[in-house]
Amino acid sequence: MFKDITMGQYFPGNTLIHRLDPRTKLVLTLLYIIVLFLAKGIWSYAVMLAFLSVCVILSRIKLSVLLSGAKPIVFIIIITGILNLFYTKGEHLLFRVWRISVYLEGLQTAGFLILRILLLICCTLLLTYTTSPLQLTDAMEALLNPLKKLRFPVHELSMMMSIALRFIPTLIKETDKIMSAQKARGADFETGSLRQRAKALLPLLIPLFVGAFRRADELATAMESRCYHGGEGRTKMKQLRMAAADWAALVSGAALTVAVVLLRRAG
């Protein structure tokens, strides 16, 4: 069951998108999300879609892979789509079944909403598919750096995040393994009442927690024995550097923002 989680998985590659500075990608993704909420009308959505499509094509991530990452929220998409379809009132009645009437406006709203959610998911997935978790936390640390002046523990936070990210796959594997081991002794995680199922989780959760604490302890020892003492005076092996492509990407992001704002006025 855990093997189905692909959300936030990194697919190594060497395309233009992969090579962009993670800070650029992070900023662009945030910008894209904000602009997505400004978009209104068919033309601004078309521009948004085109922009993301170009990025996806450049990254050589298969569309099927990208869309399968959106699978976990298909249910939400369908529900919001249906709600908007049936509850939006308008002038142009399309058809009417029993007491439910569907208007052209409803169809439009639902369509735009679904598109918006899909674009939102796909742009964040594109970020995590083309940027390793470590690069991401590096970028986050760099961007939050100004907060250090306010005594905000930026380094500690990003260290915690990169450790957590590093251990998620390990924990998933561990969960899988313990689950298999208990299943081999006849444990049943899939049937029974809610109460029974909750109880059936104990043979999984206890070894999982014991293991996680053991790991944390070992990691702390390993870090201390290599003289880790927080962010003070710590340098990076891989310095982040902005290249021409990064500036170009940022400019195109700005252009996208302007275009959408203008189209919104016009449309």
Partner: protein, 288 residues
């Protein structure tokens, strides 16, 4: 009679349709008879662990079938579940799966899931503990307070308590000292001899497996590369090396001796056999 466990054209592909797609088990035909003691060896990543997880239905084959006593174990959910109890699987580092408050209750977990009566459970726990030399005064201890070797023996007892017809162990001696390894191997041999039990044993230690297995199956790149008696397998030292394995040290010694011109049999693989060979030489006297 049908083999107790058998695979037909078994193939397993991990993450199909993604960039990480990997065929871990590739078209494997394998059969084990009642009472056999089989060693599985193979280089890291050769698909041993993936393979054995099919034998009790934990992994579903991408294609191919798994038969227990001639019947497909995936025929129904019921069948798969029954097979879990008949084909006991001990994972690598099984001590990390202990979870109960006491040793006794941890060993009883499997039998309890089988829906046995309390008396039967009690009998099985005591029997299983006996097999692995866990004494009754340890029953009320927390499994987390035991030593590493003891923990592992408790975990193995937890599977033996289900009285499986086929007992499969994935590297049961990994990470133990020689004494701990010796104990566990003794325990497993004891279980094997206690009835018509089949044992399948994955290991990286040629020394261990050479002494106890009647048959060796060598995996390489998801396929069965060799299958035969230890004598047959270890006589092909070159082939073994080509797939990243080696023969037991004592076989190496005998091969060297033979190269040096001594008339010894270089396909022996235990110290006892080697000793017998060398004594034979001595008996022959001065011509050496």
């Amino acid at each position: 009679m049908a083999p107790v466990i058998q695979t037909v054209n078994l193939t397993h592909v991990y993450s199909p349709g993604t960039p990480f797609e990997q065929t871990a088990v590739d078209n494997v035909d394998f059969a084990a008879e009642r009472g056999e003691f089989i060693g599985i060896i193979g280089h890291t990543g050769s698909g041993k662990s993936t393979f054995i997880q099919h034998l009790n239905g934990l992994l579903k084959p991408s294609s191919g079938r798994v038969l227990f006593n001639g019947e497909d174990i995936f025929a129904s959910k019921q069948k798969t579940r029954e097979t879990r109890f008949k084909v006991g699987l001990v994972f690598q580092y099984p001590e990390y799966q202990l979870f109960e408050e006491t040793v006794y209750r941890d060993i009883a977990f499997g039998p309890k899931n089988m829906g046995l009566s309390d008396e039967e459970i009690d009998r099985r726990v005591r029997d299983a503990a006996g097999f692995v030399d866990i004494s009754e005064d340890q029953f009320e201890k927390s499994p987390f307070d035991l030593s590493g070797g003891q923990k592992r023996r408790v975990a193995i007892a937890g599977v033996i308590a289900m009285k499986p017809d086929v007992l499969i162990l994935d590297e049961p001696t990994a990470g133990l000292d020689p004494m701990g390894r010796e104990e566990i191997i003794g325990n497993i041999v004891r279980y094997h001899n206690s009835g018509e039990n089949t044992v399948i044993f994955i290991t990286h230690s040629m020394e261990d497996i050479a002494r106890i297995a009647g048959r060796l199956v060598v995996f390489s790149k998801g396929r069965i590369f060799m299958d035969g008696t230890p004598k047959e397998v270890f006589s092909r030292a070159e082939d073994l090396r080509s797939v990243g394995l080696d023969v037991p040290d004592i076989t190496l010694v005998m091969m060297k001796l033979k190269k040096l011109g001594l008339p010894v049999d270089d396909s022996v693989y235990t110290v006892e056999q080697a000793k017998a060979e060398l004594l034979k030489l001595k008996g022959r006297g001065k011509d050496v």
